[in-house]
Point group: C2
Chain length 711, copies 2
């Protein structure tokens, strides 16, 4: 066991060293001229101010929740004796705090690097595409590596601290279900980070566009617009900090879920089954580093997307080889009944997961790419006005859920059956098969996250170049990077929702194991969640409804927060003289401040709905109903997230397709209709959709943490 | 038993006599002037032509399906011997054909009366509000009574024909599960009727508005618009024929589902449990007739909605009293274990259902009424343009699902618990409790349906008055009736979705009983649908996805069918000279013809998705997975239908609210945004939403019919 733990820590150390060398590389680059620096500093300041205030709010909520978790687990376990109850209470609660802190720290680092990288990318654009691309991707990689390494570090350290390496198998088996608090802490912070950031970014966007572009008539990213800095800040807090926290908790939740399942398979694999998920995660860091380093465009005319795609391909291939090796040495021994484990079948599960991730990226591309039928259909419908644009967009979004769901279903079924075939006669074998598929899918998370954070960095770099009035040549470079960044942002959203679906199926099996633990049933017995029972049916019904209600409040929050900034921008144009002439600078900071307050206020209600609903269902309707709630929240949440992400992405690109000169081009009636669709899609794809990814994992981790209270 | 059967037939006879006297009353009314008659004849002709063609298409599909049903049941039951297999095959298949024919006939009668009543309402408007209201409601009542009576007649007759009154309890218990084919036939026709009608009505509406109002600039219902007749025809085929078929199959499915459950409780209630649902249904006809007769406005200044509300109240009260009586005499004896049945508790279940129906009507009113916050919020958001109108509308629609779901959940849980308390120690008692609640809710269906069909009649009357250039005074009367008709249409949609939710929970329990039958398990054992098993989870996942995919295809079908008519209207304006001057009549019939063809073509794909998906899931993933599919399709379908109906209704009324002079009034920017919202909402609330009501029952009846094929 110690060998593997050392290996994991060593890889974490490698990740940290690589991260520091990346940071070093970035800081050595030119910071551009004074004008660029001023803009960049304003973005930095705004982003940090938002994060500061957001963390205070989240921190306060987290402290309250930590106390509730401690009390709930104390009283929930009191029947097992006072000492046991106290042991549960502080351990789960501490893990929660650790998860929340790590998640917050990961978001902070990611954003800090991002706001320091954007100006250097803007400056490097003078030297050509390759240099700018390299800096942007290295900036993104810092987030990618830190997030994965920190998640891994937290889990391994808690595992050791809570006695996972003791010689007593009972304790080793028991530890994973305690450190689930870590995953809950991570999802809790992620939910609010994604919600708050998502509301901020879209409210600032809408406010900047509605008053600046529509009412006053100045172009996008014009320094005379008081909301322009808030808009650029939004890209960082929504995409960098938000998505970083999202994938941080994906990794944490998936690892811990798989460890709980590993514990249930203790008689088969021993401690190796528990540590295996962590090893896979660590191995993925190595593959991702090599993939990142290998990204390069040879010629300035190359499509940067191809270079990123090649890097991803290298990561996937390398990872597939490493996975086979570790599956063989860690899970390849024979079963307790003497039958040898067919590790090739388990490897098949892993490949299923990796393939699913790849297919999701392709499918998202199909539904949201300008060169494909769905987006062009929306663009064509824009010719007959905004109503037909909206109807077509909604219908494309609804339809885009079908094939991904069939693929997820197939992946779950295949990996489950492979697990059963690999470990004949073992009850939880099928679930372990799906767990391995999930590990396979998430093992490339560092690379995916690097690509994702690449998006806001290039977006910001473009904004800085635009605002500082740089030459057309430089703009062309940042425009190309920006277009590439938009694509990667859309693709990684597809990946995130796919991995969320697999991860929750895994967490659900972990939940069932926990229920058996609490009921004192043996782990190789079966606890059924019978949706034919009225309580379970009602739990499921409410679960689906929560997804609709949450989406409603998240979408509405954007509108409310946007109202605040609209009023402020109008006020500045009216009261501060000389803004339009460019003689006086607008008050950027007050816009950032107002939208910060607005976003933080509006994130509370949707957040609380998600936190309270599963607890209420579990406490009032019982453990089985909570299981039904979990499953159907996952199902509806995944489908709704696909609908929101894809329709939003398709509307966005339909507008861009028209802007490129098709169907009448800019300022045509079709374009006006396209702008309406894009505006409708913004809160779909950047607020409600990504928050749903977090929601579906949060309801799983929260039920695991509060399970002892359930009827 | 014979006494009750005679009672049911007697009430059916009463319903038919009342229907004929209503028809007689309507036909005795004045038919208005020649101009009105011409318009009315054109509507009649168009509607009948559509129905004719639609029935041919549906008939063809039904014949194919009847053969498939016969073969499937033959091979599915072959293991029980050739004779048994043949017996199953022809009985289920014949019941299917009977259900399809009855449903088609009910739709036909409803529409025939509707298109003959509209002109008489238009003509009676000269004599004042009360007379016009009476005629319109009596026209609606014909549909209401015929639909209920025919549904009841079909089931009772099949029950007797298939040996339900034999002395052998085994045969009596067995018959309900055979006549489920009747419910499937009814839902099959209802799905296509609702889909085809819904596509027709909205395509014609969009076509008439987009070319007539927007491109050419003539007012609504202007006789110069070639699509104006198609638009008026659409109200009939969508709302009358469609909703008629929808509630016909609701009643059929609920009755048969309750009978299957009654059969499972044979040891407790004997044949009385099987016949009880039919008696409740018959009793509801009597209450509804009295309610209908008592509707009256004293003063021409009264709100007609109050008069309709009073009639509903009388129906509900009368029905509550009659229900208590029949629950006492039919279910009030003691159990086989000697414990007396607490019939008051069963009555509590019935009242729960009645209350739920009432609450749904109130909630729908809240979310879609002009005088409430949600609609006014959408209207206010229209001031900042179409994008904010759409975002707010979607967010209102998503939110409007929350409270109804909590109410449904509470109703299911309460009626289930009351059932268990009333019949202690009986396994299926809880399900029978929810069955009684469903019966309670659906017992007022005749009255609700009369109110619903009232809508298109008044809508058409208004159109005829407008087109024939009648005086302002007369227009005022029809406008007031039309406004009232819009409200009743919205409210009955709420009722329809609520009853669909209850009815499918009932059908699901019937499905579980059938599974036990087929597996040869005793009926008092438990068959669980464990959503923790991957097959069941996948079935559930696909079930939720089907709802999204179906909604997508239904919404898109409207756009496609609208394209056909847009081209035709443009062609007529261009090629037929003198239309705009009013010297030449446009070719109304060719518009009707083209949109008929379009609607029938576009209804096939969404229809097939719904029919094939449950069969594929059952055959490939098995009975338990089909159960998961059923439940989650219901859950998602109900929530999605609420979202689509309520957002559509709210957009519609937000536009009307602005038109009444608020926020800038007609032709303001807010109004333009309001029109966009209304257009987006049209296919939501009149095509996809109502079709979903049918979908959720159809997937239940189809699984019951094909169950013998499932793995």
């Amino acid at each position: 066991m110690v060998t593997y733990l050392v290996l994991i820590y060593a890889i974490i150390a490698v990740a940290i060293i690589v991260t520091f060398s990346l940071i070093n590389y970035i800081y050595k680059q030119e910071k551009g001229n004074k004008q660029m620096q001023e803009i960049s500093d304003a973005i930095k300041e705004g982003a940090m101010a938002f994060l500061n205030r957001q963390y205070k709010t989240i921190g306060l909520l987290a402290v309250v929740l930590a106390i509730i978790i401690a009390s709930a687990n104390y009283f929930g376990h009191l029947s097992q004796g006072g000492n046991v109850a106290v042991a549960y209470a502080w351990r789960i609660s501490l893990a929660f705090v650790a998860g929340a802190l790590c998640s917050g720290f990961a978001g902070f680092i990611g954003m800090y690097i991002s706001v320091n990288t954007n100006i250097r990318v803007a400056s490097a654009a003078k030297k050509g595409l390759n240099k700018a691309l390299q800096i942007a991707l290295r900036g993104g990689s810092v987030t990618g590596l830190i997030v994965t390494a920190l998640s891994l570090f937290g889990i391994v350290t808690l595992f050791i601290a809570y006695g996972g390496i003791s010689d007593n198998p009972d304790i080793t088996k028991f530890v994973p279900s305690i450190i689930v608090g870590f995953a809950f802490g991570a999802s809790f912070v992620a939910l609010f980070a994604q919600l708050g950031g998502g509301i901020f970014t879209k409210a600032a966007d809408v406010g900047a566009d509605l008053v600046g572009k529509v009412e006053v008539g100045i172009p996008e990213d014009d320094p005379r617009n008081p909301a322009v800095i808030a808009d650029l800040v939004g890209d960082n807090v929504g995409d960098c900090a938000g998505r970083g926290a999202d994938l941080f908790e994906s990794i944490a939740a998936e690892n811990i879920g798989a460890m709980i399942l590993g514990a249930a398979l203790y008689p088969v694999f021993g401690w190796k089954g528990i540590l295996f998920p962590l090893v896979v995660c660590a191995v993925g860091i190595i593959s991702s580093i090599i993939g990142i380093i290998s990204v390069k465009v040879k010629d300035d005319n190359d499509d940067p997307m191809n270079a990123l795609g090649n890097g991803y391909f290298i990561t996937v291939i390398l990872n597939s080889i490493l996975l086979l090796f570790f599956i063989k040495i860690m899970l390849g021994s024979s079963l307790s009944n003497g039958i040898p484990v067919n590790y090739w079948l388990l490897y098949g599960s892993a490949l299923t997961g990796i393939t699913l991730g790849y297919l999701f990226v392709i499918l998202t591309d199909y539904y949201t790419s300008m060169s494909r039928k769905p987006v062009q259909e929306i663009a064509k419908a824009s010719v007959t006005g905004p109503a037909t644009n909206i109807i077509t967009g909604i219908s494309v979004g609804l339809e885009s859920t079908a094939i991904p769901i069939i693929f997820i279903s197939a992946a779950i079924l295949i990996s489950y059956k492979l697990g059963q075939l690999a470990l004949p006669g073992i009850l939880n074998a099928g679930f372990y098969g799906t767990a391995i598929a999930t590990m396979g899918m998430l093992s490339t998370a560092s690379y995916i996250l690097a690509m994702d954070t690449f998006g806001p960095i290039t977006d910001n770099a473009g904004g800085i170049v635009e605002m500082s009035g740089a030459s057309d040549e430089i703009r062309l470079v940042t425009d190309r990077l920006d277009a590439c960044g938009n694509t990667t942002k859309a693709l990684t959203k597809g990946y995130a929702v796919g991995s969320a679906a697999l991860a929750t199926f895994l967490l659900f099996s972990a939940y069932l194991d926990e229920v058996k633990n609490i009921l004192g049933k043996p782990l190789d017995s079966w606890f059924s969640v019978d949706i034919g029972k009225p309580e379970v049916f009602i739990g499921a019904f409410i679960g689906a409804m929560i997804v609709f209600l949450f989406s409603s409040t998240a979408i509405r929050a954007v509108g409310k927060a946007a109202q605040y900034i609209i009023l402020e921008v109008r006020r500045q144009f009216k009261e501060i003289k000389g803004i339009m002439e460019g003689t006086t600078k607008p008050d950027y900071a007050s816009c950032v401040d107002i939208v910060t307050k607005g976003a933080l206020k509006e994130m509370i209600i949707p957040g609380l709905i998600v936190v309270l609903a599963p607890i209420l269902v579990g406490v009032s309707l019982g453990k089985e109903a909570a299981g039904g709630f979990l499953m159907v929240t996952t199902i509806t949440g995944v489908i709704m997230a696909l609908f929101l992400n894809n329709s939003g992405g398709a509307w966005d690109n339909a507008k861009k397709y028209i802007e490129l000169g098709n169907l009448g081009g800019k300022n045509s009636d079709a374009h006006k209709a396209g702008v309406v669709g894009d505006t409708v899609g913004d809160p779909f794809k950047d607020t409600a959709g990504p928050s749903l990814h977090v929601l579906i994992k949060l309801v799983s981790t929260i039920t695991l943490v509060f399970i002892s209270l359930f009827r």
